[in-house]
């Protein structure tokens, strides 16, 4: 059957099972927007292409399916770059489709021409400039296969305008021509056995859980493994929700702004089992001083992550879901013969750290309003039954620390790339992916202003996302670093709390705008926001501008130098530094 390249593109997306495309048309991609009119695909017209990219990411985080965004050539395509870089760092499966100038004009500096495959090579898992209309179905099918399998990631398909207009013969499914694309086979059973043996021998084991556990839907095997081995669990920023925070073995988030118990447990561990985690600098602190006493089992689907930052004692390459199930089975086999591993003293030690050095802040009844208080009220009022989306900075850390996560895919943020402006468009994508659920973006005033225009998209699409702006009038995390590391010499971090007027801005965008300045009003304002069901509700929380994020490991320093924060006495800080471990 004869179709145009554009029809082949739209049909390919339909056949691929895509239900929504986030995009914005322009000259080179125009042909694709014509068959879209009669397609079953839902197109969400964003206000800026970066919003399309982050929305595709939010959709993918929330659903586990591949998100799709579309843009025209030149600036349309380059506006996707930040989202692609973000998706690459956080292994988020998205497919970006970009228009390109006609083949004959490539290289002539034509209007709205940019070498987007060249630009995005280092920040995509793969990309392709398609030069033959007959290849469109295969290019799309390959893009989805690559984006969603193995270690997920973004794939960009660049389509010159003339191949969208050309006629080609339609057939589906196309044969995938990917001879160099290899997925790991089953994990080596001997290594699984060796890992189980180490886990059983360990007296101070810690499961160091990364985003791979959520991506591979391995939260159930994780729970089995943790309970079987009686090993405490830390969930990284990418893995919040993989293990319930209320579980007795849960230590919370490790790293630069991690819980003291999680940081200390990794430092004192005699065995770290890294599961879909990559020993990121924000987790390890000074790498050479990270977990000095620990042997390491490292399981990951990406062989290049193993040994990249920390040499493992046992390396396991494979799909975590099966790896963890097999690891649990092998552990059970050992326990059946030799009895359970002796970790009781260690579990008691880490639980003691949790209670001695919890997150601490003081909320005075008459203010100022603390951001932590807002997160804790949200957590309590929703019972953790919300999808929380954050941007990057203090609000992100406070959200990750103080929300009590109960299930996977309930936390969405920009981890590796640290992209300010992520939250609102990502929340939009998450809400479209999971329409019946409560989606709450917790955002800073700095972040919010970078992508606030997508409130218009959300209002028109009738998406009832909640946007809680922690408005402290500052680029708060940068301010905190200037306070701590530049002797309070504040430079270009003051934004001011009143411009824009966030309530009016929300109303101008067709949303409900609310303001909350006093701690006593938090519950009522949140309730009001949660009750809005047809458009976004935006709340301007006037939060304390001098509030920092603690604990904190100063950048580049060993994790042992963790600072508990101003809420702890010098005696407590010293006791934490001297910490005692029962299970030697």
């Amino acid at each position: 059957m004869e179709v145009t390249g554009a029809q082949a593109l739209v049909r390919s997306l339909e056949c691929q099972g895509v239900d929504v495309v986030f995009g914005l048309p322009g000259g080179a991609i125009l042909p694709a927007y014509d068959p879209l009119r009669s397609s079953s695909l839902r197109h969400v017209l964003v206000r800026h292409e970066q919003g399309a990219g982050h929305a595709a990411e939010g959709y993918a985080w929330a659903t586990g399916r591949t998100g799709v965004c579309m843009a025209t050539s030149g600036p349309g395509a380059t506006n996707l770059v930040t989202a692609l870089a973000d998706a690459y760092m956080d292994s988020v499966p998205i497919v970006a489709i970009t228009g390109q100038v006609p083949r004959a004009m490539i290289g002539t500096d034509a209007f709205q021409e940019s070498d987007i495959t060249g630009i995005t090579g280092p920040i995509t898992k793969h990309n392709e400039l398609v030069t033959d209309p007959g290849r469109i179905p295969a290019a799309i099918a390959e893009a989805f296969h690559i984006a969603s399998t193995g270690r997920p990631g973004p794939v960009l398909v660049d389509l010159p305008k003339d191949i969208l207009q050309a006629t080609t013969t339609w057939s589906w499914p196309p044969a995938l021509d990917l001879p160099g694309y290899r997925l790991p086979g089953p994990a080596d059973p001997e290594r699984i056995a060796a890992a189980a043996r180490l886990l059983h021998q360990a007296r101070r084991p810690v499961l160091y859980v990364g985003g791979g556990v959520i991506k591979s839907d391995s939260h159930e095997p994780l729970r089995d493994l943790a309970e079987l081995a009686q090993a405490p669990v830390t969930t990284t920023l990418m893995a919040r929700g993989a293990f319930p925070d209320s579980h007795p073995l849960a230590l919370g988030m490790p790293g630069m702004h991690g819980m003291y118990a999680a940081v200390a447990a990794l430092q004192e561990a005699d065995l770290i089992v890294a599961l879909g985690a990559r020993f990121d600098d924000r987790v390890t602190g000074k790498l050479a001083a990270f977990a000095p006493k620990a042997k390491v089992v490292h399981a990951d689907i990406d062989p290049a992550e193993i040994g990249k930052n920390r040499a493992p004692d046992v390396a396991i390459v494979g799909d975590l879901r099966t790896v963890m199930a097999e690891l649990a089975r092998a552990t059970r086999t050992i326990i059946d013969v030799e009895g359970p591993a002796d970790t009781a003293a260690w579990v008691a030690t880490t639980a003691g750290w949790k209670s001695s050095y919890p997150l601490r802040y003081t909320q005075a009844a008459d203010g100022p309003l603390k951001p932590q208080h807002v997160v804790e009220r949200l957590s309590a009022m929703t019972g953790g039954d919300a999808i929380v989306v954050a941007g990057v900075g203090q609000h992100q850390m406070h959200a990750s620390q103080h929300f009590s996560f109960t299930r996977p895919r309930s936390w969405i943020n920009s981890g590796g790339a640290g992209t300010m402006g992520f939250a609102v468009p990502a929340a939009m994508g998450a809400q479209i992916g999971r329409p019946g659920e409560l989606v709450v973006a917790i955002d800073g005033d700095g972040c919010f202003q970078m992508t606030a225009q997508e409130l218009a998209t959300c209002a028109i699409e009738g998406l009832p996302i909640k946007v809680l702006i922690f408005n402290n009038g500052f680029l708060g995390m940068v301010r905190q670093w200037q306070e701590l590391f530049y002797d309070e010499r504040y430079s270009e971090v003051h934004l001011g709390t009143d411009i824009p007027d966030y309530v009016k801005l929300a109303e101008a965008y067709g949303c409900v705008g609310l303001r909350c300045e006093q701690p006593g009003d938090v519950d009522a304002v949140l309730e009001k926001a949660l009750s809005v069901s047809d458009v976004p509700a935006v709340v301007d929380f006037r939060t304390h501008d001098a509030e920092g994020v603690f604990p904190m490991v100063p950048v580049g320093r060993p994790n042992d130098d963790i600072v508990l924060g101003p809420e702890f006495t010098p005696a407590e800080q010293q006791a934490a530094a001297r910490r005692e471990v029962i299970a030697k």
């Binding site: 690559i146 001879p179 160099g180 290049a304």
Partner: protein
Amino acid sequence: MTTHTLSVLVENKPGVLAHVAGLFSRRAFNITSLSVGPTSDARVSRMTIVVDGETTPVDQVRKQLEKLVRVLKVVELGEDEAVERELALIKVSVQPSVRAELLDIATAYSANVVDMGPETIVLEAVCSPGRLDALIAQLEPHGTCELVRTGLIAIGRGSGTITDEDLAGLGACA
């Protein structure tokens, strides 16, 4: 300097070289040389990449290369297991008094004279990299005007080939 030689089979498609070069730049890997050419299978090109093992983690290079979708196979060729050659064209200024001496040096290194003018000659030398360095050092005092080297190419010794194990989907392409 410890160098490592990687033989890399890649799909012969547009953008492949950019992806490989981009990987090296993004990961801050140092390349000593890179050469690329066709193989007996028109669908496949072969790159020989020499990396500086002191500044670059070779295991990471191999694993990251293997992740590129258009890369079919990566093999590290140890110095003792491979024949390594590099082609150089060397333009040397010749005074009549030293012409015979220069030609003797060329003969000693099995270098051919491929162009001869009144003031310069061009030598073509095919050597192992170390031997080529030695030749260039010997010519230097006579005034080397211009030098072009292809970068190393290498092939494993013995009957085994890089395509002994089937390339998934492509079949043997030797």
